[in-house]
């Protein structure tokens, strides 16, 4: 699959997915960003700084750890966990925030805006802005602010201005709309630090490049530990940045099966879910052509997931491409299953996962039992569950 190395093409397309569907005002800014990123990409000093801060500030490399008791519990394939939850700020989002933060400094911009769903990207952006001395504004839906109160407080502590979004569904989708409106208005002095592999070109490729550090490490680690590549890689998919991050370095390894796990919420048939690739159709949202959840008239639908970070009606164009060529498979896990997997990982491995990767754990656990013991599954444990305590307490009907 040699051609995959060249994707996206010069117009930002992965096959028929991607592109730049934005107001004219942003087109020059996207050109500027693309040029700046292309230059940075060729500059060894840029990557040297990225690597050194990844190591000394974020805490890379993260371990790849064999989940011995979980494996035994499932009674089949060996399960390994890529521990992105151990990173500074508790999730993989810091990889991208760091990369783009260094780019902001290169582009000599001072004002940074970002959107956030679960709050993990907001916290990562706020953290990097504090570290690099940049001004930061984060847009967050009112509904997400309520369910992720702790992350809201974290961002404020880090010196970020939080702007609640009360339009539309009051979640991530509308936070992105509002961030784009801010960018259109303040484009001259503002950098938009987008948190996932979505949006107009060059965001999907740029965020993928910064997140690919996950897969590069995992590849070396599994070779060192097992002497061979895994049979399966499993990761959760909202916008899709942690999954692209771990998938991408394995894309040309044809025998490694890639599985993305979306949020089935209360069940796909109820309509209350966020399984964009499993149940969506091709459309244009937030600047890119990709799968989206929409009605017959092309209106974007509201979504539901217990995991705020998966609660999004779109998905990165590269995932849509992998689906279309059959390189990756996409499945969905519902709220209840994710919650069960959340508890299972706590009890078997002593790790409290975020509700987002709990979806991936659930699918991996289900699948492992049907495979033989020689098989290897790597799960991307993209974040830590501390942020989700309130939701889990409520969902389990516990009083503290």
């Amino acid at each position: 699959m040699k051609e995959d190395k060249q994707l996206p093409d010069s117009r930002g397309y992965f096959g028929q997915f991607g592109g730049r569907f934005v107001p004219e005002t942003l087109m020059p800014a996207l050109d500027e960003l693309e040029t700046a990123y292309e230059e940075a990409k060729r500059d060894p000093f840029f990557w040297a700084e990225f690597d050194s801060l990844s190591r000394d500030y974020s805490g890379r490399p993260t371990p790849l750890c064999f989940a011995e008791r979980l494996t035994k519990h499932c009674g089949g394939a060996q399960i390994f966990l890529k521990r992105e939850d151990l990173l500074h700020t508790g999730a993989h989002k810091i990889n991208n925030a760091l990369g783009q933060g260094l780019l902001v400094r290169r582009m000599k911009k001072q004002r940074v805006i970002a959107e956030t769903g679960a709050g993990q990207h907001g916290v990562a952006a706020a953290t990097i802005c504090a570290k690099l001395g940049l001004d930061c504004v984060v847009y967050m839906g009112e509904e997400d602010i309520q369910r992720q109160a702790l992350n809201v407080f974290r961002m404020k502590l880090l010196g970020t201005e939080l702007r609640p979004v009360s339009s539309g569904t009051k979640t991530l989708k509308d936070a992105i709309n509002e961030a784009i409106r801010d960018w259109v208005t303040n484009v001259k002095n503002t950098y938009y630090l987008l948190g996932s592999v979505v949006g107009p070109h060059p965001y999907p490729v740029m965020v993928r490049d910064f997140q690919s550090v996950i897969g590069k490490e995992a590849r070396e680690q599994i070779l060192a530990q097992c002497g061979r590549l895994p049979d399966y890689i499993i990761a959760c998919v909202g916008g899709g940045s942690n999954s692209i991050g771990i998938f991408h370095p394995f894309v040309n390894d044809k025998d490694v099966k890639l599985i993305g796990v979306e949020a089935a919420g209360r069940g796909i048939r109820t309509g209350k879910h966020a399984a964009t690739l499993a149940a969506g159709t091709v459309g244009v949202l937030h600047g890119a052509k990709s799968y989206v959840l929409q009605d017959d008239a092309g209106q974007i639908l509201g979504t539901h997931s217990i995991a705020a970070g998966l609660d999004y009606p779109g998905v990165g164009p590269e995932h849509s491409y992998y689906k279309s060529i059959g390189r990756a498979t996409y499945v969905a896990v519902n709220d209840k299953e994710a919650l069960k997997a959340f508890q299972l990982l706590c009890q078997t491995e002593g790790i409290i996962p975020a509700l987002e990767p709990a979806h991936a754990i659930s699918y991996a656990a289900k699948m492992a039992g049907s495979l033989d013991k020689e098989q290897i599954i790597v799960v991307n444990l993209s974040g830590h569950g501390d942020k989700d305590m309130d939701i889990v307490v409520k969902a389990l009907g516990v009083t503290l």
């Binding site: 117009r11 592109g19 730049r20 569907f21 934005v22 107001p23 004219e24 005002t25 942003l26 087109m27 020059p28 800014a29 050109d31 339009s167 539309g168 989708k173 509308d174 709309n177 784009i180 409106r181 259109v184 208005t185 303040n186 484009v187 001259k188 159709t281 091709v282 459309g283 244009v284 949202l285 937030h286 600047g287 989206v292 929409q294 017959d296 008239a297 092309g298 209106q299 974007i300």
Partner: protein, 257 residues
């Protein structure tokens, strides 16, 4: 020559182009307002097909879109409204919407339906010329104009691209920002319009932020048309009898003659 182009070829005054969201506050309002606006001297009328995620729009049009959607205003309903309006007015009608509803409808089908009901052109703010080739095939086949936008942030290269590809007129966004009323238009407005004028003979219409007769007059000094949206939506809110909106249109018309 398209019906839109002939507006600019024949008219001696600056074109007045109001925007209304179809179905806001009700479909009946749209059916009443558009003929009234036409007889008050509007030259082209923009009909907004509401979209759930209008990222180029400010609070006023966002709210209007949301309300219209809540009442079930789909592209299909908009076609019916346009068909009815075409029976009542001669004025060119232009759909303004986002790309996704058009894509979902099917580019060819959407354009053929536009032609069938008497729509003259399309304005799609999240569709730059780079992504518009496919839609252009359909608009050309069905004799529709596809209006592209320029902004003060546009580079010389982009001005060249947009002026060569836009048909009917070129929509100049007066400021870097979203739609909505503003107290002041930017100081650079004249030089922006001038820099585009140097590149093209196509008509230039200015919109975004134009909300008073004084502002419209200033725009008219340099442009061929003035587009007014959010202020009209606000007036439809204030007075359901349409009196305020109509007298506002008349003031604009006078300011532009």
């Amino acid at each position: 020559m398209s019906r839109i182009s002939s507006v600019f070829a024949q008219s001696r005054h600056t074109a007045l182009i109001p925007y209304v969201t179809v179905g806001y506050p009700t479909v009946e309002t749209t059916l009443k307002a558009v003929p009234l606006f036409a007889s008050a001297g509007c030259d082209i009328i923009e009909l907004g097909i509401p979209f759930s995620d209008p990222l180029a729009d400010g609070a006023t049009i966002q709210r209007a879109s949301y309300e219209a959607l809540r009442q079930g205003v789909t592209p299909k309903v908009c076609f019916e409204v346009a068909k009815e309006l075409r029976r009542r007015v001669q004025t060119p009608l232009v759909f303004m919407t986002y790309y996704n509803p058009v894509l979902k409808f099917g580019l060819g089908q959407f354009c053929s339906k536009c032609a069938e009901v008497g729509i003259d052109g399309l304005i799609i703010p999240d569709l730059p010329p780079e992504e518009g080739k496919e839609l252009e095939k359909s608009t050309e086949r069905h004799g529709l104009d596809l209006v592209y936008l320029l902004s003060p942030a546009s580079t010389q290269e982009r001005i060249k691209l947009v002026t060569s590809r836009s048909s009917g007129f070129i929509y100049l966004v007066s400021l870097t920002g979203v739609t909505g009323t503003r107290d002041k238009l930017p100081e650079e407005l004249e030089s922006f319009v001038g820099s585009v004028r140097k590149r093209t003979d196509k008509p230039l219409c200015v919109g975004f932020g134009v909300s008073t007769p004084e502002q419209a007059r200033r725009v008219a000094e340099v442009a061929d048309g003035v587009i007014v949206g959010s202020r009209i939506i606000q007036l439809l809110d204030e007075d359901k009898s349409l009196k305020n909106a109509c007298s506002f249109i008349k003031c604009l018309r006078e300011a532009l003659s």
